[in-house]
Amino acid sequence: MIELFLILNIIAAIIALESKNLLSSIISLGGVGFGLAIIMLFLGAPDVAIVQILVEVVLLIILIRSTIDRDHTRIKCHKEFFSLVTGGAFLGVMLIFVILALQDLPQFGTAMAFGPDRIIPSLEYLSGSLSETGAPNVVTSVLLDYRGYDTLGEATVLFAAIIGALAILRKTKAEKKSKDEK
C-alpha cells in the first residue's frame, strides 16, 4: 500500500517538474504533499500527517497568490546541453553512493532504534512518557518535555525567517523616489 502511494507521488513529482504551465505544476506539487500525508497515516504518524496537510495548504496558497498572477503562467523552455550533461553526471555519481548505502540499511519494518545492540532512547520515551510527564501522546511529550529546547529553537527559526522575508520585501528609499517621479 505504501509503495502504491509512493509511485503515485513519483508520477505527480515528474508532472510537477516537466509541465509547461506553472499553475498545473503547483497543483501537482499539492498532489505530492497530500499523497505524502496519506503515507504518513499508514506509517502510524497522525501528528505528522496533520501538520503536513496544513503546511501543504499554506504552501499552495503562498505559491499561487504570490507567483502565479504576477507572471505569464506559461514558461519558455530551452534546454542547454551542458547543464543536462552536468545533471546526468551528478545523478550517476550520487546513484552509486546511494546503492552502496542501501546495502547497509536494515530491512524495512524492523525499526533502527529497536535493534538489539544499539543505544535506545526511543524505548525510554515510550515506557516513561506516561509516568514521567503524564502525557499519553508520546510525540508531544518528546517535543515539549524531553526535548523542549529544540522546540524553542525551532520557534526562533520561524521568527527569524519571517523577519528576513519582511526585510527582503520592504521598500527602499530609491524605489520610493523612482515611484514619486513617475
Binding site: 509512493l6 509511485i7 513519483i10 513529482a13 515528474i14 510537477a16 517538474l17 505544476s25 504518513m40 506509517l43 502510524g44 504518524a45 497522525p46 501528528d47 505528522v48 501538520v51 503536513q52 504552501l59 503562498i62 505559491l63 504570490s66 507567483t67 504576477r70 507572471d71 514558461i75 547543464s83 545533471g87 546511494v98 546503492i99 542501501l102 540499511l105 530491512q107 524495512f108 519494518g109 524492523t110 525499526a111 532504534a113 529497536f114 526511543s122 520515551y125 515510550l126 515506557s127 512518557s129 506516561l130 499519553p136 501522546n137 508520546v138 510525540v139 518528546v142 517535543l143 526535548r147 522546540t151 527559526v157 520561524l158 525567517a161 519571517i162 528576513g164 522575508a165 527582503i168 520585501l169
Partner: protein, 120 residues
C-alpha cells in the same frame, strides 16, 4: 549480489527527481518546487526508518498496558524530529518565495539564466 529494498528505493527516487529539477531547471518557481519535493522525500525517509511492522501510533489509550505499548508502537523520536523539520521547511520556503518575488520585481522575469546584471 546487490539487493535493493523497494520502499527505500522509491523514496530515494523521489529525492533524485528533486535533485534533477534543481540541477537542470531555469525557472525560479520550478527550483522552489524541486526543493520542496526533496524536503518531502527526506522527511518520509526518516519516518520509514522509524517504522515497525504492524506498528501502532505512539499514543496511549486508556486501559492499555505499558509493556504491550512499548512492544507495539513505532518510533516517536523520528516523528518529533520530522514535525520540527516540516515547520522549518515552511519558513525556508517563505524566505525563498520572498527572494523570488524580489527578483521578479527587479529583472521582470523568473528565469535565472537571464539575470546578468549583478551590479548594485
Amino acid at each position: 549480489m546487490i539487493s535493493l529494498p523497494v520502499t527505500y528505493s522509491l523514496c530515494l527516487v523521489l529525492f533524485f527527481i528533486g535533485l534533477y529539477g534543481i540541477v537542470t531547471k531555469k525557472n525560479a518557481v520550478k527550483i522552489i518546487i524541486s526543493i520542496i519535493i526533496m524536503e518531502n522525500s527526506v522527511n518520509l525517509f526518516l519516518l520509514l526508518v522509524g517504522y515497525r511492522k504492524d506498528g501502532i501510533a505512539p499514543i496511549m489509550t486508556e486501559g492499555m498496558s505499558v509493556e504491550k505499548f512499548v512492544s507495539g508502537a513505532v518510533d516517536p523520536l523520528t516523528q518529533a524530529m520530522v514535525l520540527t523539520s516540516i515547520v522549518i521547511g515552511l519558513s525556508v520556503v517563505a524566505l525563498m518565495v520572498a527572494i523570488a518575488i524580489r527578483i521578479y520585481e527587479r529583472f521582470n522575469t523568473f528565469d535565472v539564466s537571464e539575470i546578468k546584471d549583478l551590479k548594485g
